[in-house]
Structures are given as C-alpha cells and as structure tokens.
Amino acid sequence: MSGLSFDQVQAILFIPLAAAALLGFIVNYRLGARINVLACLLTLLVALSLFVTGAPPVGAYFLIDELNIVFIALNTFVGFTTAVFSASYIGHELAIGRLTPTYLRFYHAMYQLLLFAMNLALVANNVGLMWVAIEIATLTTVIMVGLYRSHEALEAAWKYFILGSVGIALALFGTILFYMAAQPVVGEGLDAMTWTVLIARVAEFDGALINVAFIFLLLGYGTKVGLAPVHAWLPDAHAEGPTPSSAVLSGLLLNVALYAVLRFKMLMAANPEAIAPGPLMITMGLVSLIFAAFMLYRRRDIKRMFAYSSIEHMGIITFAFGMGGPVANFAGLLHMVMHSLTKSAIFFAVGHIAQAKGTQKIADIRGLTESHPWLGWGLVIGVVAISGLPPLGIFMSEFLVVTSTFAQEPLLAIPLVIGLLVAFGALMLRLNSLAFGAPRGNSAPVKASYVPMYAHLSLVLIAGVYLPAPLVSWFQHIAALLG
C-alpha cells in the first residue's frame, strides 16, 4: 500500500517532468497541445487518487498531508483546465499569426515544467527543496511571460525576472536562517531542513533568529504571492504574458508561494518565543487589499486589472490566515480555492475576449453580453463571483472573514470592509462598461472553449450554496492545523 502511495507522489512529479521532456522534442503544435492536456489529465487523476488511497507515509523529501493535498488537487485541476483552454487559445493566436510556431517551440514543455515545479514545491518535505522548486517555477514563468517577445512582454518578463530573483534571494536567506535556528537543536544535515522534523521541534528553536528568518521568508515568498509592496512584477507579468500563463500564475503560482508562507507560519506559530506571525501577515494583507483596491480604478488593460484583483484577493487570504483561528483559517482556505477557480475562469474569459476584440484595452471593449453572450455572461458571473457577491463561493469566504474579524478585532474589520467596498466599486465600474452598453469593436464570433470556464464557475456556484460535509470537516481539520 505504502509503496503504491509513494508511487503516486512520484507520479505527480514524474508525469509532468516526462511530459516536459517529451514535449521538448515535439514540434507539431497540435500534437503538443494534446499531449499537454493528456499529461495534465493524468496528473490530475493521480492526484485525485490520493483522496482514495489516503496520504502516503512521510518521506525525507516528500510529504503529503491534509494541507498540501488541497493545493495539489487544486493545482492539478486548474492545470488541466488551463491546458484545455490553452489549446484553443494558442490555436487562435497561431491562426491570427500573433504567435509563430518558433515562438511556441518550448511553450508546452515549459508549461509542464511549471506544473512539475509547482507540484514539487507542494510535496516537498524539505524547505530547501521547496525553495528550489519555487525558483524553477519562477524561471519557467519568466520565459512564458516573455513569450510574445514584444517590448512590453520582454519588459514585463525582465521586471519579473529581476524582482523575482531578489525575492528568491531573500527567501533563500530566510531559509538559511531557519536552518541556522534548527541546526543547534536538530543537528546538522538534512533533518534541519525537513519540515516534519522542524514542526516537531520548532518550539525549542531560538525565537529571535526565526523572527528574522520569517521576515525574509515573508518578503521573499511574499514577492511571489504578490503582496504589496513587493508585488510590482505581478500586474505586468499577468498583462503581457499569454493568457494561459496569466491563469496559471494567478490561479496557482500565487497559491504555491502562499503555501510556502503558510508552512513557515505554522512553524512560527508553534514557537512560543517567536513573534506571532499574525500581525505581519495581517498588515501585509490589508496593505495589499487596500492598495490593489485603489489601483483597480485607473486600469486600462483588462488583464492588468484582474492581476490587481489577484493582489487584492491574495491580500484577503493572507489577512485571513494572519487572523488565525478556526473560522478565519477555514475562510482563508476556502477563499484561496474559490479565488483560484474564479480567477482562472475570468482569465479564460478574458483571453478569448481579447482575441475576439483584438485588444486588451478596456475602453475598446463594450457590450460583451450582446456581442459575445457566452463570453460576456461568463465574465459577468466571474466578476460577480470575484467581487464577493452571492450565491457564489467567494461570498461565503468573505462573509466568514469579515464576521470572524469583527468578532475578534472589530477595528480591523473597518479597513477590511472599506477595502472590499472600494475594490467592488472599481470592478463593477469596469464590468459595467465591458459587459454592457452598445457593443463596440469586433463582434465576430470567436472559436472558444467555454467548458473550462463554466466548469470552474459552476464549481464556485455550488460551493457558494453547498459545501459537502467531508470537504468541510477536512478544511476544518486543516484550519485547526494552521492554528
């Protein structure tokens, strides 16, 4: 049994890696896209089988527990739907000649490599390995962001690269510091970086040292999460890269980085001497939320706008985890899942919209519900969901975040609510002009794959009304773990 389980973890890593290697040799775009989808599907199935077989035993390098299995499932699922979307999206880009097969030569390989890196970061039981995985993921996405090789795309990639490198460097420093803290207690070598060992013995660590470590880790991985003020790469990278990469970035990579922060937060929380990580995360979360909320107003590029919305939501999630407690943690987890699903659905819609209209400028897009009803209403539902309106899932998580905050720290609820409202105002303002009014620009129908988008949205809708009891108890368990 255990052997089988271990195989699953390996499979989750091996399938994308092998697919990446294989895709590196495949020139034909269509074949590549199919293999890509297939590989994603396989990974998803393996990941889902984890639910059936239960968590495998902990290894020195790999770990599956209640926390990361959520992330893995989400990761593989969104990875799969995005691959489906990507097939039709990239096909259209090729058809209109915005991309050429040369540019796309390693696109699918990169996609699989990214999934591999993210899965690796999630299953890693070693904080050093996790760091390496996140660095690989960063480098891969840099290349994907620069795919179009336009000035803007290259500039965005460059910005991402530089800021990401600094972030990664900070995270590494934090990791080293953590090792330093662990080393006197745990002893030298691999054990001092193994998460399961760390969490067991963290209470004995030097509080002052891990405080400093956590600051570096928070800022370092926070750069990847996109928390203000270390968010700067995020909007441009989302706006200029191909939309599938935006969807993966917003839907997955941010989560993976957040996962890393959470792992360290759990360590911090377990040490009595260390400062509570809550206030730091709450502050950064609130700053991100309010900052992004205001930034939403002046956006002219539709993808950049939703990138800022991702910052906003990452802020909310970080805030929720910072608040802590069973309800807020539950809300944070739920919000994270819902945000991933919704935001990637929005990017699916936005990608096709940009293709249909031939522009990403908000001012040039109008009346979508009339010119492209499926895309337009998909966008409406997505934006309605992302701005926290019922009956969609984010409403539930926001309800929980706000009420639990109000019950614990009433004063903190005020900036939270203001931020939510300001962001809401901005999103609705743009939605109004995007989806309604007399259509402007190209109204020709576009070949689009609606299935991924509406699949995500229906999941979000169902979650808003009904959460299955096993899922709830499971989330509650994780929430308790997170402290």
Partner: protein, 220 residues
C-alpha cells in the same frame, strides 16, 4: 586553534563587508568591477576557510565556483561588454556617495542589532557570520536601489548573492549549498545574458533601466 579559526573566519567575513562598502564608494564602472572581483575573491577565501574549518570538502567546490565564475569570468565578461557597448563609464547614482555610505553604516548597524540578539546558545562563529552576511545582503540591495546603471545593479545583485553564499556556508552542515551556489550562478549568467540580449536586439539605446521603462505597456 579554535580561536584562530574563529578569528580568521571573522576577519574574512568582516573583509567582505568592507569590500561591500568599497563597492558603494565606487563611481566608475571599471573600478566597480574590479572591486567586485575582489569581493568574490574574499568570498572564495572565506568559503574555503569554512570548508577547512567545518571539514566539509564539498564547500571547496563552492569556493572554486566563486573564484572562477564570479571573480574572473563575470567581471571580464562585463568588462568587455562595457567596452563593446560603449556604456558611460560613470555610474549615475540616485543619492550621493556620502549619504549612501551613511545609509550603509545604518544597515550594518541594523544587521548587527538584529543578529546579535540571537541567543548566545547559537554557534558564535555562525552568529558573526550571519550578522556579516546580513550586512552584505542589505548593502547589495542598497546598491541595486541607489544605482541607475543596469551593470552596477547587476553587480549589486551579485554582491547580495555573495552574502547569501557566505551565510549558507557559515551554516554548519547545511545541505544543498553547492547546488544553490550553482543555481545562483546560472541566475546571474541569465541576467547578464539578458542584458546582452536586450542590447543585441538593439531595441534599447543603452542598458540603462530607464530605457526599459520607456516601453512600458501602460503609459501615463
């Protein structure tokens, strides 16, 4: 013996901070590159000493990488690039050298304050090392922030990374150090290549980051 080992390690790490200060002080690119080469050299020595002190032979590899790649290849490559691209030899600083030095002092003080709070239970050598490493990291970041020229920013990043390597090697028995230093070397190489690429594609007049900003997608 222990005392001597400690003193030498301390001396080398302190030297690294000092060289970082020297880099902050430079206002010409060539000089900066030369000082950076010195920085890398000191790092290599420091790492080698740690390898000796900790009896960890794999660290010699790291020291070798530092010596060959950072102290020789990269400075030479940048030298040639500057010469070929005809970049201004002057470094444009945002704030004057003086204030930068002052800020650097502040950062060193900060890193000391932060690190020395760490309980004495920790290995004193590691503690000192960490304090200096933190100072080097912060100084590197300060350099990236206060220099307009991309080459000097890269140099800043590289010195930051040297600080990381210092910290990593100072941490007794830390796994993956070599791998990390290799990964970082690749990262730096990519950055350098990136600068070259931008130049080669002749889309930017200078590698001044200003020029990049002109191509922002969303103009005011």
């Amino acid at each position: 013996m222990d005392g001597l080992i400690f003193d030498i390690a301390h001396l080398l790490a302190g030297g690294l901070v000092l060289v970082s200060f020297m880099m902050l002080y430079q206002d010409r690119l060539y000089a900066l590159l030369n000082v950076y080469a010195l920085h890398a050299l000191v790092l290599a020595l420091s790492v080698a000493w740690q390898a000796f002190a900790q009896d960890a032979p794999h660290l010699y590899v790291t020291a070798l990488i530092a010596l060959v790649f950072k102290a020789i290849i990269i400075p030479v490559a940048l030298h040639r690039m500057i010469a070929r691209l005809g970049i201004h030899r002057e470094i444009e600083t945002v704030v004057g050298i003086g204030p930068t030095m002052l800020a650097g002092m502040g950062l060193v003080a900060l890193s000391m304050v932060v690190m020395l709070r760490v309980t004495a239970a920790a290995d004193p050598m590691a503690r000192e090392d960490l304090a200096f490493a933190l100072a080097v990291v912060l100084l590197g970041l300060l350099m990236m922030v206060t220099r307009r020229n991309a080459v000097s920013q890269v140099v800043g990043f590289m010195s930051l990374e040297n600080g990381l390597v210092l910290a990593a090697t100072g941490a007794r028995g830390m796994p993956l150090v070599v791998e990390i230093s290799v990964a970082f070397s690749i990262l730096i190489a990519l950055i350098v290549i990136g600068i070259m690429l931008f130049r080669i594609r002749e889309r930017f007049d200078t590698v001044d980051v200003h020029a990049l900003d002109r191509f922002r997608g969303e103009r005011r």
